[in-house]
């Protein structure tokens, strides 16, 4: 069987950054497997700007951001295979992949980084009643049709869900002379970034209906209208509020799910909250030598954060390859009071006391609150936040002095205090 020291599954922003970082850490035997015909992943279709403010201190478009890392991968002569589908990985790190030039290949890796990104929740995941006509697309599919293939999915659009891709597509469809009639959001707040509400909707007078949802889809061959209704506080439609919006296209922007079919295969333990792997501070899963980073680990709102996280995964994988240290995972990070999840979920005891970045999301909109980290019941970090929203990932840095204090069996808790 062919062997490779480090195989990275996925050549999007996560895979590219992980590869560059692993190479920087001295690893030369790296292979990126990418199923699309080009490196760059979802960034290739995200032609809008706003990427890179943290990483490069300038505003880039998606393809430009991807290009920085693609060039870096090429300069470092890191190997990659395009149009290559990984069929399975096993817990002893045997990868099966297929493409038209190599055929079916089994490859034994010493370490694997899962960087396979996420996928969109489809119509079936949200159970909308009605017929099944043409004209219903996930927002990302519509984005690919418009931006890569030059095809317009429809002319009169309703968007369900106000995630960032939905908001971006509202503007994009408007630019392509389609009429976006409304964005319909079931929650009383948007899961998208504020700047997208302003620059993609308000700029073009596109209405957003909070606490509303689509309750019925009409049309035989092609979508002709959707019925929308207001929802009550338990998200149940209020019957007398229904009204019809004529449209030929419905775009769904109703959430993203980490793509972990391969991980399940390899018996990687997944979190029911994030949908991604459960990892330690090195981003290693429960399977020795299998790491995860980017949107396959948990869905990020900024690519810059994906890059930072993936750089860590690349570095950690090389550390693992060189030492093969088998770190016990002992300290669970517990979350409560408004914190929905934290990544990493646990910290290995025999770490090298490097600083640890905790990434988290809250479960609702909170004002005038504090994110508090406590160790053995004592507050060790308090970060005041005028506002926390589920759409914006929060980070807390545990500097190495604090990490040093965390002992085997410590009780580490992250929570919100004094929330409104």
């Amino acid at each position: 069987m062919k062997t490779c020291r480090l195989v990275i599954i996925g050549g999007g922003p996560a895979g590219l950054a992980a590869a560059v970082s692993a190479n920087e850490a001295g690893e030369r035997d790296i292979l990126i497997l990418e199923r699309d015909e080009a490196l760059g992943g979802i960034l290739n279709q995200c032609i809008h700007n706003g990427f890179g403010l943290h990483t490069f201190r300038e505003e880039l478009t998606g393809p430009e951001y991807a290009n920085r890392y693609i060039e870096e991968v090429n300069n470092r002569k890191i190997a990659y295979k395009l149009n290559t589908t990984v069929l399975s990985i096993t817990s002893n790190k045997v990868i099966s992949y297929v493409n038209t030039t190599d055929g079916f290949v089994r490859l034994k890796a010493e370490a694997i980084i899962l960087a396979c990104g996420c996928r969109e929740r489809p119509r079936g995941a949200i159970n909308i009643a009605g017929s099944r006509p043409a004209g219903i697309f996930s927002a990302g599919t519509a984005q690919k049709l418009v931006n890569i293939d030059g095809l317009l999915p429809g002319k009169e659009i309703v968007i369900l869900g106000s995630g960032d891709i939905g908001l971006i597509m509202a503007r994009r469809m408007t630019y392509e002379s389609a009429k976006v009639k409304a964005v319909v959001e079931i929650m009383p707040y948007s899961s998208g970034l504020n700047r997208n509400i302003v620059q993609c909707l308000n700029d073009y007078n596109i209405p957003i209906l909070f606490s509303h949802t689509v309750v019925e889809i009409k049309g035989k061959d092609r979508l002709t209208s959707v019925i929308i209704a207001q929802v009550d506080s338990s998200l149940k439609p209020i019957l007398h509020t229904t009204h019809e919006i004529k449209c030929d296209t419905l775009l769904l922007s109703v959430g993203l799910i980490p793509e972990n079919e391969l991980a399940k295969n390899a018996e990687v333990e997944l979190s029911s909250v994030t949908g991604g792997a459960i990892v330690n501070e090195k981003l290693m899963t429960n399977i020795d030598g299998i790491f995860a980073c980017g949107n396959v680990l948990h869905v990020h709102d900024l690519v810059d954060y994906v890059t930072t996280e993936s750089m860590l995964a690349g570095k950690s994988a090389v550390q693992y390859l060189n030492t093969h240290s088998n770190e016990d995972r002992v300290i669970n990070i517990n979350v409560k009071n408004g914190i929905r999840y934290v990544v990493p979920q646990h910290i290995s005891c025999d770490n090298d006391y490097s600083a640890i970045t905790l990434k988290m999301r809250v479960n609702n909109v909170y004002r005038n609150t504090s994110i508090v980290v406590s160790l053995e019941g004592v507050e060790i970090i308090t970060k005041k936040k005028p506002i926390c929203t589920p759409g914006e990932m929060e980070t807390i840095n545990l500097h190495s002095e604090l990490v040093r204090k965390i002992k085997n069996g410590s009780n580490l808790v992250v929570e919100l205090k004094g929330r409104e």
Partner: protein, 119 residues
């Protein structure tokens, strides 16, 4: 009186802007001083970077993504977009290539934001 949401930080303050006297624009609802500058520019001269696509002839993919090299006046967005819809460029196109010079007399150029190689 105009209403707007400040996008400088995640707070998203709802600003009220009194622009009846353009020499003395009054802003209220802002949580910090940055909201005032934001509101003033939004009232006086709102600008945006425009990103879109241009048709490619003979390329591996059909469209190349493009952007304005700087922010253009918001009022010109659709004029610029109309112009982009009328042109076709020949592959190969390289990232950073100039697609239109001085678009709509703004002194701002349209450049490619990705490379599209020949089919």
């Amino acid at each position: 009186m105009k209403e707007m949401i400040c996008i400088i930080c995640p707070m998203g303050c709802h600003l009220k802007v009194d622009d009846s006297d353009v020499d003395n624009i009054k802003v209220s609802g802002n949580g910090c001083i940055r909201g005032v500058d934001y509101a003033k520019e939004e009232v006086m001269a709102p600008k945006r970077t425009v990103t879109s696509i241009v048709r490619v002839h003979g390329g591996k993919i059909k469209m190349v993504s493009v952007k304005t090299t700087d922010r253009i006046p918001k009022a010109l967005i659709f004029k610029v977009l109309e112009q982009l819809k009328t042109i076709t460029v020949d592959a190969p196109i390289y990232i950073g290539d100039e697609i239109i010079k001085n678009v709509c007399n703004t002194r701002i150029n349209i450049i490619a934001t990705k490379t599209v190689s020949k089919k």
